[in-house]
Symmetry: C2
Subunit: 80 residues, 2 copies
Amino acid sequence: MIKARVTVTLKNGVLDPQGKAIEGALGTLGFDGVEQVRQGKVFDLELAGTNASEAEQQITAMCEKLLANTVIENYAVEIL
Amino acid sequence: MIKARVTVTLKNGVLDPQGKAIEGALGTLGFDGVEQVRQGKVFDLELAGTNASEAEQQITAMCEKLLANTVIENYAVEIL
């Protein structure tokens, strides 16, 4: 079995209202010095098989097709 | 300025319907061999200051108070 982590983050320049809201909330809670917060997603996958390079290829295809919106998001695949 | 990444994931045993839905969708798209998908959140923070250990302490407090629900979620802080 292969474990992998996919991290999907917004591209630079894409507005992130959720991140802005968190930034505001942290300020309200008294955390000073928070300059920016951006929120992304993480997917922890378990795949059958033992071939890591094949799994990485398959996961990249999953990102392109489903896990990330490549117009506004970047993704990173990490085999654990 | 200090950059940090906080990764929040569901604890083992906590049901993840969103992950299950993604698992099903990947199967429908023809990706075989996907055994499990679990979704989490990632926060990219930028903090003022240059003291990494102080920043890490502050971010841990943010996780406890706002970013993670520690009843059902684990968090990991990584100073970049």
